[in-house]
């Protein structure tokens, strides 16, 4: 394989229309999040839904605005699983301890 073939590729990315649609989608999801906050849901349900919606927004920004969808898939495999693993490790260390401390609190 010639090194020329490995030259830096120019990624055209999505069209203006697609980017605009993504932006409208992001604003709409933000509106939905604010509406859920207005509805006064239980904190645990609220937290789950908000984290889910934030992950969808993050995926939209990374895929289209940051062009990750148009890069080589090996880049995604190189970056994303390692990052998720590290975040999961932090959560595994922190959260069981947080719930244990909550149960230890004096009631009343």
């Amino acid at each position: 394989m010639n090194t020329e073939a490995h030259a830096v590729e120019s990624h055209a990315g999505a069209s203006v229309g697609t980017n605009l649609a993504i932006w409208i989608g992001l604003v709409a999801i933000t509106g939905l999040e604010v509406f859920l906050a207005y509805e006064e849901l239980q904190p645990s349900i609220m937290l789950t839904i908000l984290i889910g919606l934030s992950l969808v927004k993050a995926a939209m920004i990374m895929s289209y605005f940051m062009h990750l969808k148009f890069e080589k898939f090996s880049l995604v495999l190189w970056l994303v699983p390692a990052m998720i693993f590290c975040i999961c490790m932090m959560m595994i260390f922190f959260f069981p301890e947080a719930f244990r401390l909550l149960q230890m609190r004096p009631h009343g």
Partner: protein, 209 residues
């Protein structure tokens, strides 16, 4: 003299002179920075959630009107600046220097507007008696995590605005390439992406009913 197998090995991607993942070193470096900074913000947000879970009397100082409406406007401004950055990158790929600089200035304006709105929010909280060490609503850690996380994010926005100014000036004068604009765009979208987690976790989870 090389045989066929040796030549194939020398011509492979491992022989040097190749771009990993078919991208430039600046862009790859920015992606690595983004991953490391994601972990920094993840640690901060997980620490916040940890404090929140262990303190059931966590303050809820943000009423829907004006605090949440105000922070929603900040979110829309930051999202709008991401769209202008996308337009700047597209203009740079067409080698349209004038429009690229114009869209980058619009992005800087969005970033400055976000900072202005955020500082107004901060000063409003100062007036209510909230500082980094104590607040009038209860759990003292609130000030530390609120000002710590939003301050860290605002620092990133400020650095982003300065970075945009440098790249826009350099690109306008022909010193920087379209790749530099794209790398700058990656940083700016990352700042936007972080806010997509800060806004719901810090503001929407602390609505005062």
């Amino acid at each position: 003299m090389h045989d066929v197998k040796t030549d194939a090995a020398l011509d492979s991607a491992w022989s040097g002179g190749a771009s990993p993942f078919a991208m430039g070193s600046k862009k790859l470096g920015m992606w690595l920075f983004i991953v490391s900074d994601t972990l920094t913000f993840s640690a901060l947000l997980i620490t916040y959630t940890y404090s929140r879970i262990t303190n059931p009397d966590w303050p809820r100082p943000f009423p829907m009107n004006p605090a949440i409406i105000f922070s929603t406007a900040m979110t829309v401004v930051l999202l709008a600046s991401s769209l202008t950055m996308v337009m700047a990158v597209m203009a740079a790929q067409r080698n349209d220097r004038k429009k690229t600089v114009m869209w980058m200035i619009a992005t800087m304006a969005g970033g400055l507007a976000f900072m202005g709105l955020h500082l107004r929010e901060w000063f409003h909280l100062f007036e209510e008696g909230a500082t980094i060490t104590h607040n009038p609503w209860g759990t003292p850690q609130f000030g530390a995590v609120f000002f710590g996380i939003t301050g860290m994010h605002m620092t990133h926005v400020l650095i982003g605005v300065i970075y945009l100014g440098i790249v826009a000036t350099g690109y306008g004068r022909g010193k920087f390439s379209a790749e530099d604009v794209e790398v700058n765009g990656l940083y700016w979208h990352f700042v936007d992406l972080v806010w997509m987690f800060v806004f719901p976790l810090i503001y929407l989870m602390s609505v005062k009913y």
